[in-house]
Structure formats: C-alpha cells, structure tokens
Amino acid sequence: MADSIKNYVLGVFEDEDVLLKAITKVRKEGVNIYEVYSPFPVHGIENALGYNRSRLSIAAFLFGMTGTCLALTMMIYMMTIDWPMIIGGKDFLPFPTFIPVTFEMTVLLSAFGMVGTFLVISDLKPWGKAKMFDIRSTDDKHIVAIELEKNKLDKTKISKLLKASGASEVNEKQMD
C-alpha cells in the first residue's frame, strides 16, 4: 500500500481568529487545503474555506418525496384497489385518513435518507479509521492539513507561508 501514502504539511494554530485569517491568506496564495481540524466549531470557517452550501437538503427533499409516493401507493393499492373495504362508512379512497401515514413515511424516509447520505458523503463507515493528524486537535489546537501532492508550491514555501500567517509550529506527516 506504499502508493497510497501521502505527505501532508500541518500548520498548528493556537487561536481561531488567527486561524481564520491564516486560512484566507493561504487560500489566496493558491494553496489547496485538505482539511482543518478544530477542537470546537469555529464560526465562519465554512466561508473562509470556501465551502459551498451543502446539497443535503435537496437529497432530503427527494427522499421525502419518495416516502410520500411510497406511502400513498401502498395505501391506495391495498385499501382501494387490491382489497377494498368499507371502514367507518368512508369511501374506498378515504384520502384524509391516509394523510398521517403519508406524513410519517415522508418524515421517516427523509430522515433516514439524510443520515445515510451524510454518512456516505462524510466517508463514515463502521470499519473506517479516522485520520488523526495531531492528537492535540482534540484538545486545544487547530490543525490545518495541506496535502503536498495536490499543491504546486513545495514543502518549504508552504511551511513559510503558514509560519508567516501565524502558525505556532509546522509539522509534517505521512498518512495513507
């Protein structure tokens, strides 16, 4: 598996304001940041990293619509077409009584679908192993990971850039 090992440069930051400014500065120099690891949510980091708005809500809508159609098809087939029964003096197609089940199926499928989609796009699987660049990112340090192979600048230039923008230390690490 030697081919899949990649080289990373890690900038360690103490303060989130410095971090945000550094991210903006480093990205302006054309550096592609692999990921930033923080011990707590940093406000405004999505904008600094230039992340687009998640399309998860579109997925949720589509899953929800699937749930709506599934529930209605199931109930109309069972109650109206396959085995029509008179219940409570209602029509064979008592639409209002179908609404609660339709609603629940919509919510269920959109919730499950959204969680599933999120797990897939975040690459979270039970047998997966989390990338841990620096254990201190779970305590009090922010780690900016930059993948060398995906950048035109070389190691020393990136290190200098990180130092100049306020990194307390710059490390290197190999990861598969």
Binding site: G44, R53, S57, G88, K90, P96, T97, P100
Partner: protein, 420 residues
C-alpha cells in the same frame, strides 16, 4: 452612534391611508347596495334558506358579520404581536432586538380593537350570536333550546362581556407596562428595564396561553353554538399568530427598504421567514387535526360544521382557497433557504398568507352567522380595506412616536451581528 433612521409618519402616507380608507367605505356602500338589490340567484338562495331556518335575511347582517371577522382578525394580529414581543424577552432573544419596536407599535391597536369589539357586540349581538336570544332559555317558548340552555352558565351576556373586558384590560395593562419599561430603557439605559420586561413578559405569556384560548371559544366558537371543537383555541391562536408574524415581517421589510431599519441583515429576515414558514405548517397541523377527527368520527352534530362549508356553493371555493393560501403555497414557496432570506420572496408570500388567514376567519364566522345568505363581494373587500387602513394608521403613528431603534437594548449588538 447613529443606527437606522427614526420613522416619520409623513403627510403623504396619511393621505394615502385616507384614500384607502375612503375607497374601502365606497366599496362597502357599493357592496351593500348590491346585496339590497340582489341578483336573481341570490334571492333564490335566500328564499330556500329562509324557509328552513325561518328567519329573514337583511343586508346589515352581512355587514355585522364582516365587522366581527375584521374585529377578531385585527385584534388577533395586534395581541399576537404583543405575544411575539413577550416571547423575545422571555427567551432573552438577541436576534430580534433591532426590530422590537415594530411589534410594540402593533400592540397599540388594542384599545381601538376593544372599543370596536364592544360596539359591534353591543349593536349586533343578536345578528351574530344566536345564543344571545332570550327566548332560547324560556322553557315555555316554542323556540326553547335545551342544548343552549345547558350552556347558560357560561354563555350569558354579562359573563361574556366581563370576560371580553377583562381580557382586553389585562392585555393592555401588561402591554403598557412593557412599553413603559422600553421607553425608560431609551432614556436611562442599563439592564434594569430589560430584566423587568422579562418578568412582565413571562406573566403575559402565561396569561395569553389561557386568554387566547378562551377568547377563541367566545368570539369564534360560540357563533356555532351547538357545535364544539376542542381544537378551536389552538386553531384560532395558530391563525392569529402566523398572520401576526407575516405582518411583522412585512413592516420590517418595508422599513428596511425605506432605509429606516437598514441594519436588519439577511439572517434576521431569514429568522422571520422561518417563523412564517414554520407556523404556516403549524396552522395546517392544527387545521388537519380538527378536520381528521371530525371526518373520522362521523358524528352528525360535528360534521355539520364541515358540511356547511364544503357542500356549499358559496363557501366551498374558500374552503379550498384557505388551504392553498395557508398551506400549499407557503409550504412550497418558502421551503428553500433563499426564499426565506430575500425580501422579494417574502413580499409575495406574506400578503398571500395574510389574505389566506382573513379567508380563514371568514370561513369560521360567516357560515355560522349567515348560513346560505353569505357571499364574498365588494362589501367583504371594502370592510377589510377600511380596517386595514385604520390599523396601519394607528400602527404607523405609534411607530413614529418613539425611536425606531432601542439604542440601549442590552442585546442590540447581537442583533446587528446576527448570522445564521
């Protein structure tokens, strides 16, 4: 620090409102003449109705019915704006600090609403409320009604009036106490007024939880005296609340575009939009809860309420329009993030929701009062326009009477940097 511009109630705006008011009166008069002269279709309907329900229909009954719809509708918008104000203080909310003077201004309609309520009830109680007729309680009269007689302990004019007076007085006193603290805050600053407003608001929230429900029984449910629904308190509240939110949103957008509240950012607008969207769905939830139980149980004395609406040529279109304006449209239109963040979408959605909830109250009141003699014409639109222009006049005058931005609000800074 100069933040925003205070609102000035210009002569031009006053004139525009006056023109609106006059055109409303004109529409009402035209509508009244049209009802008096009546077209062939109308007479036919009313003759059938008068046979079955043995009472004669007069045009002024429809007039009173409309007054009552607007009374309840605008009282609700006003008192729910005070509710909005109080939950902001109870939750110690920061995002809304910049726009808090808008609901304060909307609460100033309460005394006028009180006078209008008393007047209309005093003049038209027999025309709107069947239970106010004394013969219903007289065992010897052939029109004696055992069911209504059984509700006499609750539904009698003195108790009814004292409840109405009590509610308005409590609402208005608590509202005035909040306004007083808010004005003090402008002069003195500090946290003391804000903490006091927290306490008063907490009291108001508890009071409103009970009174809004009881007011709904009195003002709406008692029209259909034989029928009852345990959902009506929530139903009326939901309708009031979402109308009020839509109205607040519209005023805030208008002030923002006028340059008065220019510091209100997209995130604050987004939160208002979320409120409107969420409570439109909440209203639907309540509407459906009431409908489904009655549909499923299939008890004649309950289903009659919906039979009068869905099986009637006059009301059925409004029954569906109600659902389209208040659920399908806002649900689909305001679903995306962008539509809640940008004023141009909300400027389309909020008026439609406001009109939808007017239709909602129209459907709650009219079929019970007028049976098959109702309709929707110039009179309905005219009286709505008259009330709307008066309401706007009172609200805008109140808005111009104090500083638009509560400059000493402890949370103002948070409102300015609100980001979601």
């Amino acid at each position: 620090m100069s933040l925003g511009k205070d609102y000035i109630f210009r002569l031009q705006t006053k004139k525009q409102l006056l023109i609106l008011f006059a055109s409303g009166i004109l529409l009402t008069v035209v509508g009244a003449f049209m009802i008096i002269n009546g077209d062939g279709h109308h007479e036919e309907v009313s003759s059938i109705a008068s046979e079955s329900s043995h009472y004669e229909f007069h045009w002024y009954q429809r007039f009173f019915s409309n007054l009552w719809i607007n009374n309840v509708y605008f009282t609700g918008i006003s008192v729910s704006a005070v509710f909005f104000l109080t939950i902001q203080y109870v939750a110690q909310a920061g995002w809304s600090a910049g726009l808090i003077r808008v609901p304060i201004a909307m609460g100033s309609w309460l005394p006028y609403a009180f006078i209008l309520m008393l007047l209309v009830f005093g003049v038209a109680n027999h025309d709107i409320f069947h239970w106010t007729h004394e013969y219903l309680y007289d065992v010897n009269d052939y029109r004696y009604d055992a069911v209504i007689d059984g509700k006499k302990a609750y539904l009698n004019v003195p108790f009814y009036l004292s409840r109405m007076i009590l509610f308005f007085i409590i609402w208005y006193i608590l509202y005035l106490m909040i306004v007083k603290e808010s004005d003090k805050e402008d002069v003195n600053g500090g946290e003391t007024p804000w903490r006091k407003m927290f306490t008063i608001s907490a009291v108001f929230v508890v009071v409103y939880a009970v009174t809004s429900s009881v007011a709904a029984w009195d003002w709406i449910l008692s029209i259909d005296t034989h029928w009852f629904s345990t959902m009506i308190g929530w139903y009326v509240f939901a309708s009031w609340w979402v109308s009020s939110l839509a109205f607040i949103t519209l005023i805030v957008i208008a002030l923002k575009e006028n340059g008065n509240l220019d510091f209100i950012n997209h995130s604050v607008i987004h939160d208002l939009g979320k409120f409107v969207f969420a409570f439109s769905v909440f209203w639907t939830y309540i509407w459906f809860s009431q409908y489904l139980l009655i549909y499923y149980a299939h008890i004649p004395e309950e289903t009659i309420y919906y039979v009068e609406r869905v099986k009637s040529g006059i009301y059925a279109p409004f029954f569906y329009l109600n659902l389209i304006c208040n659920f399908f449209f806002p649900f689909l239109f305001l679903m995306t993030r962008a539509s809640k963040r940008h004023t141009r979408f909300l400027k389309i959605a909020c008026p439609i929701i406001l009109f939808g909830h007017f239709i909602d109250f129209y459907l709650m009141v009219t079929p019970g009062v007028l049976k098959e003699n109702g309709g929707f014409g110039f009179m309905e639109i005219g009286i709505l326009v008259v009330y709307l222009s008066s309401f706007l006049f009172v609200v805008l005058r109140s808005l111009s009477s104090r500083r638009l931005v509560p400059k000493n609000h402890p949370m103002l800074e948070e409102s300015l940097h609100h980001d979601v």
